[in-house]
Structures are given as C-alpha cells and as structure tokens.
C-alpha cells in the first residue's frame, strides 16, 4: 500500500490540515452533507444512528445513498431487520432490488443474536458489499470495535441502528448521529413530510456537536 492510498482511507487524517478531504458519499440532503465529516457519508467504517423512536426517519436519511450504491452494483445487505423491508417502497426510493439481500433470522431464538452479529461481520468483510445494515440494541464496546475493524477491512459502510438510550455508551464508531422527530407544536396538524433534527454526536476528524433540520 502506498502512502497516498493509506491517506485515502477514512482511518487516517492529517493532524495539521484541519478538516479531512471531502471523501464522503453525498447523502442527498445538502443540509446533512454540510455537517457530516468529509461532506457526506463515509465509504467505510461504522456509522451509528441513534433514534428515539422507530419510524421517525432514520432509514430515510440513508436511502438516497443506498439507492446510488445499489445502482453502482454494490450489495446492500440487511441483517435481521425489525420488519419486512417493503420492496415497492424501496424501489420507489430508487434501490435496485436485485442488489438487495436480506438476512432474515427467526425472532426470539437464543442464537439469533449471535448469528445476526456473525452474519453482519461477514457482510462487512465481504468486499462487494456497499452497505450493511444492522438493528441491535445491546452491543458491547468490544463487539463494536470488532465490527469497526471488519468494516474498515472490507471497505464497507456499516450502518448500525440503535435506540437513543445507547447514546451515553462510548463507541468506537467514527461517526455517531442522534436523530429526533420534530413533532408539530399544534395538536391536530399532521406534519407530512416528516421533519427531523440531526445531531452529530461524534465525528472523527471533524467537529462534533453540529446539527441540522431536515424535511424528508
């Protein structure tokens, strides 16, 4: 590996140069790109998205990028998703369904958790995978570190969706975002499209604490 290649990796940045080079994949939302290190989602490594409730838009944040990756022929692998990813909607968001793979494990079986983690790590290490998605609440720091290494090794974007209650737990993921729904102040009115507030809780090589508001 040459020095230049090494510097291209998300794990290395120049101490003096301030902001890392703009190597991120555009999220499709200008306001979000503006607060993400590298001007977009990282190409590899873990990204944790912590959300207060399911269904408030965590997945919508990443769908435009997932769509583009799938159109480029990279695999999008969903490991043990909480519900069935609904293909008509995925297609509507531009995903190439022939590049979508779901690892569907039986719920409430004791070894499901272990298998999900194993399958997720395999997906991260598998070089042709563009993004691997995982929904798990409890994850040890050690396990997260392992997954981070796997994601770096496979040059895969690892997305981990967790509840916001896990925000206080330290994490080796280079990027951690916290999202909350902006509930309309007036009862009776229904906000559609949804509105979200995104906080950068941790961003390696960039400033944490930035936030933005998005209408999805």
């Amino acid at each position: 590996m040459t020095l230049d290649e090494l510097l291209q990796r998300a794990c290395v940045w120049h101490a003096r140069s301030g902001a890392p080079p703009l190597t991120g994949m555009s999220s499709g939302y200008a306001a979000l790109d503006a607060i993400l290190p590298g001007g977009g989602w990282p190409c590899s490594g873990l990204t944790e998205i912590l959300s207060a409730d399911t269904g408030i838009g965590a997945l919508r944040l990443v769908l435009p990028t997932l769509a583009r990756l799938s159109q480029e022929g990279r695999w999008i692998i969903w490991v043990a998703p909480p519900h069935v990813p609904y293909s008509p909607a995925l297609l509507g968001h531009g995903l190439d369904l022939t590049r979508v793979l779901v690892v569907d494990l039986p719920e409430d079986e004791s070894r499901t958790r272990v298998q999900a983690l194993w399958a997720y790590e395999q997906a991260l290490r598998f070089g042709d995978c563009g993004a691997a998605l995982l929904w798990l609440d409890a994850l040890s720091n050690l396990r997260l570190r392992r997954l981070q290494i796997a994601a770096e090794a496979g040059s895969t974007w690892g997305l981990v969706f967790r509840p916001v209650s896990r925000a206080a737990q330290p994490s080796p993921a280079p990027l951690r975002l916290e999202i909350e729904a902006l509930v309309d102040p007036l009862p009776g009115a229904v906000a559609s499209p949804a509105a979200l507030r995104v906080n950068v809780r941790k961003a390696r090589g960039a400033q944490a604490g930035l936030h933005c508001q998005l209408e999805l």
């Binding site: 909607a89 509507g92 598998f126 229904v190």
Partner: protein, 522 residues
C-alpha cells in the same frame, strides 16, 4: 503375516544343492521403454489407520487378531508404541502397559480405502493401479513436468498423505515391482537408473516378496536371506528349487521382461466413507473426519478436471440411526477449504439425535470445465466478483440456514402484502416489470411492512398508539382480490404518533371494521 501374494504357487521340494555364484550381468532379454518411472505408495498401517484417521486426538489404539486367549496385537499406532506395545504381543500383556482402544480389522473398508487413495492419487497421474491390500502404484514420468520435477511431485505426495491421515513409505524405481519392493523394505528410496537396481535391491530381505511361507522357508534353508543372494542362484537352480513364477518375478523386477499393469478407471461418481473409532456426538470431531473425505474428493475432482455443487453427506450409527444432509454450493467448486468451511458451519448447526460411528460422502453430479456464469438467484454475472459473492452466500447459508438468505421482488398485485415476495433459491432474478405501478411509492408506501398487521385499540373511533393517532386526511382505498380467497377491502391512512413516528394504518371496510397497523414509514 497377514499378506501373501496369492499368485505364487507353492514350492514342493527343498533339497540342499551346491550354490554357484552367477554373473550378475545377464543379457537383457528385452529393454523397457526408458520413459517409465514408477512410484509405489506403501501403507504399512492401513488396516489400523482407516479406523483411527477420523480421530481428532491421539489415543493409543491396537488392531487385534485371533480368538479368546490367543488374541494378539497385529498393529499398534504410534501412541501405543510409545507405551511399549509391539505387534505380536498378547492382548492381555498390552493392556497391562496402558489404556488401550482395541479395534478389529475390516477388510472391506481396507479395500475401499485403498480404492479411494487410488482415486485421490489420480491428481498426480492418470496411470494408477492398485496393489492390494496395502499399496498404490503410479506411473509418474508423464507428470514430472507438471510438478516441476520429481522432488515437487514427491513433496505434494508427502503433504497429501499427511493430510489424509496415512503414514506411508514410498519408493521410485524404473520397474513397477522394484518400486513396490523398495517401498516395502526401505523408506523414500529413489532409483532412476535401471542399472542401479541391483545395488539397491540386493540388500532387501525376502519378506518384501511376500512369498508363501513354504517358499520362504525353502530359500532360507539354503542360506538365502536377501534378494541379492537369491539372485545369485542360477536360473536353472531357481526354477528347480522354486516355482517358475519366481523366475518371472525376478525378470520383471530387474526390467528384463515386460510388466504391464492395469490402470484404474475412475468411476463417474465419488463415494467415500470413514469409520469412526468410537461413537461421536461432537461436531468438531466430525469436522476432522469430514476433512479427510473432502481431501479425497478434491483429488478425485482434480483428476477429472471437474467441480461439483452438491455434496451428499450421511452420518450413521450402524443400522440404528441415520442422518443425511446436503450441502449445495452457489457455484461449482473443488476448493477443499471452502467445502470444509461449509461442512463445519452445517455440522455446528445440527443437533444429532444419537451419536454416530460413520461418515459418508457422495458426489454424483460433476461439472466439467469452467462453469458458465449465468445470472443466478442474486443476479451474479461478473466472474471474480461472482466467486467472492458465491462463497459469501454459501457461508451464510450453511451457518444460518438456507431460508435465512433472501432476495425480494415485486409482483403485479394491488394488495400490499401481495405486491412483493421473497424470491426462491436458484430462481433467476427478474428485472423491471412493476416499476411503473408504484412510481409514486416514495410517499405512499412505507419502507417497512409489519409481518402480521397489528390490531389497534380505538377510543371514540380514533385508533390509539402512544395516545391517539393523527391521520392524514387523504385515504387510499384498496378493495381488490375478490377473485381469490384473499380478497380485501380497506381504507389506508398515513398516521403519526405523538412521538413523531409515521405509520401506515388501515380500517377494515367490512367485518369487524378494525383499525390495524400495517407498515412503518421512515
């Protein structure tokens, strides 16, 4: 002696007679084609090893022969030998030296193991013949270039035999019989020149010829103990004292007459089994045993320039219990490591109802040459990428089960639950088709579908989830499917909880008119 050459006729009379030294350089009646080079693999411990090579740990084992009080140790493995146990020892005495596992010979399994070793050896040369009960003979001249010379070939052989779990002696010689005798009497001899044979063979004891006991006695009674001494007898003497067959043996040995060997023909399907020395329930032990069979399979596939995508495994315990399982591969392969990995994952996932004592592997579908890379279940087209993906899929399947891996596709149906489906294994990917129907799917269809719709409680006619749901006034009526059993009539709404989650709910238009949660927007 367990072995004797059945072709040797018995020797009748043994009269002492003067021994005249004979000139060693007899005129050669016929010269062999200079090209032939024979390699004999001799497996001195085969009867014992076929019973123990499935073991992961090293335990002292002996092969026992005889009845009742006269039972004797026929062979002892290295562990038993370190305890001081030797062949010929009474079994009782052996037991006094340490803890032992007693095993009985299984001649059918020995024959089968030898055949499988022959099949395995076909990756080294197509010219393989068996020398029962414990030898395999290869003609290797034609393969030397492939393995970068004899040393390369022998290195490959040594490595392979070790992996298969056999302790072997081998020898290389210009005549097949010389290779056989050298392999039995020495370790790793290599003689390339036919004129050197006399020097190397001369010192070998008569045992290596495997004569009938009476023939060997006859020779020993006249002071002949080695091949060299035997050869110094005159031909007339030899013929008179022993059978003419022995003369012929010597002629073949020194290359003075032709010694054609039938070559083994490989069957069109691969079948191998391994006996386990005791009842096994532990998956890791079975993996170790299975690895041996996979190595044999790899040799067989190499010899056929073939690959496979379907392995049939069978575990059994005599006739009492039997369990079969298949391992299917996304792409044909003969990669031992990959197949072993899949075997391990599959075995780790299995629960054996009873311990087993034998493992069998059968492969009956061979794929020759390069497999065509048709777009398969997951639309894999590009070769190199396809292989990485195939191996990734195979690993996931064997660890998590075939049902755990899914791809999806759309169906032409307005019913939300029928508008998509999981794609079956081995079904080719379909592209396009339904894209137009849901081109507005961005905001009218949820990203998640709840597997079983959840009935929501209501208060004053308003569905509740974390308090009352707020509904977007626009409704979508889906009233369809009257033509089959699964007709439905629903009004769908987008709803929002007090905490900001966006949901897809519907109200039944008939029956109980329940409110149900069917999807989650993001």
């Amino acid at each position: 002696m367990p072995h004797s050459l059945p072709s040797m006729t018995t020797f009748r009379a043994a009269m002492p007679a003067p021994i005249r030294p004979v000139d060693d350089a007899r005129p050669a009646t016929r010269t062999l084609p200079a090209a032939a080079l024979w390699l004999h693999i001799h497996l001195p411990q085969l009867p014992l090893e076929i019973l123990t090579r499935g073991m992961a740990q090293n335990r002292a084992c002996v092969l026992v022969q005889g009845e009742g009080n006269r039972r004797k140790v026929l062979m002892a493995n290295t562990r038993a030998a370190t305890l001081g146990i030797r062949a010929g020892m009474p079994v009782g005495a052996a037991h006094a030296l340490g803890e032992l596992l007693e095993l009985e010979r299984n001649p059918r399994a020995e024959q089968h193991a030898l055949e499988n070793l022959g099949l395995w050896a076909m990756q080294l040369t197509p010219l393989v013949s068996l020398v029962p009960p414990d030898g395999v003979l290869l003609e290797v001249r034609g393969s030397l270039r492939l393995f970068h010379g004899l040393d390369g070939l022998l290195a490959r052989l040594r490595q392979g035999l070790k992996q298969l779990g056999y302790r072997a002696q081998y020898a290389v010689a210009p005549t097949p019989l010389a290779a056989t005798l050298l392999a039995r009497g020495t370790t790793h001899s290599v003689v390339q020149d036919v004129h050197e044979l006399g020097r190397h063979l001369g010192g070998l004891p008569l045992d290596v010829l495997r004569l009938a006991p009476s023939e060997q006695d006859a020779l020993e009674s006249i002071g002949v103990r080695s091949l060299g001494e035997c050869r110094r007898l005159s031909r007339a003497d030899l013929a008179r004292r022993l059978s003419p067959a022995l003369l012929d043996t010597f002629d073949r040995l020194y290359g003075q007459t032709r010694d054609p060997r039938p070559t083994m023909a490989a069957p069109e399907l691969f079948e191998a089994s391994l006996e386990l020395p005791w009842e096994v329930r532990n998956a890791q032990t079975l993996v170790t045993a299975g690895e041996r069979l996979l190595l044999e399979l790899q040799g067989y596939l190499r010899a056929h320039a073939a690959m496979t995508r379907h392995l049939h495994w069978r575990l059994s315990n005599g006739t009492r219990y039997e369990e079969g399982f298949d391992i299917r591969l996304t792409h044909p392969t003969r990669d031992h490591d990959h197949m072993l990995l899949l075997l391990r994952e599959t075995l780790m996932r299995m629960t054996l109802k009873e311990p087993v004592t034998a493992l069998e592997l059968k492969v009956d579908e061979l794929v020759r040459g390069n497999p065509s890379m048709e777009a398969d279940l997951f639309g894999v087209r590009h070769q190199a990428q396809g292989e990485a993906y195939a191996s990734f899929l195979d690993r996931l399947r064997s660890r998590c089960g075939a049902q755990a891996l899914r791809a999806m596709e759309l169906q032409s149906d307005h019913r939300p639950e029928a508008a998509w489906r999981w794609r079956e294994n081995d079904e080719p990917a379909r592209r396009g088709g339904m894209k137009t129907l849901f081109s507005d799917g961005l905001n009218t269809r949820p990203v998640w579908l709840v597997k079983e719709p959840v009935t929501l409680p209501t208060q004053h006619g308003v569905p509740q989830l974390d308090g009352p749901l707020r509904l977007v006034p626009a409704r979508e009526r889906i009233d369809t499917g009257w033509w089959d059993e699964r007709g439905l009539a629903r009004d769908y709404f987008i709803a929002r909880t007090s905490r900001g989650s966006r949901l897809w709910v519907y109200k039944e238009l008939d029956g109980e008119q329940r409110w149900r949660l069917h999807g989650v927007f993001e």
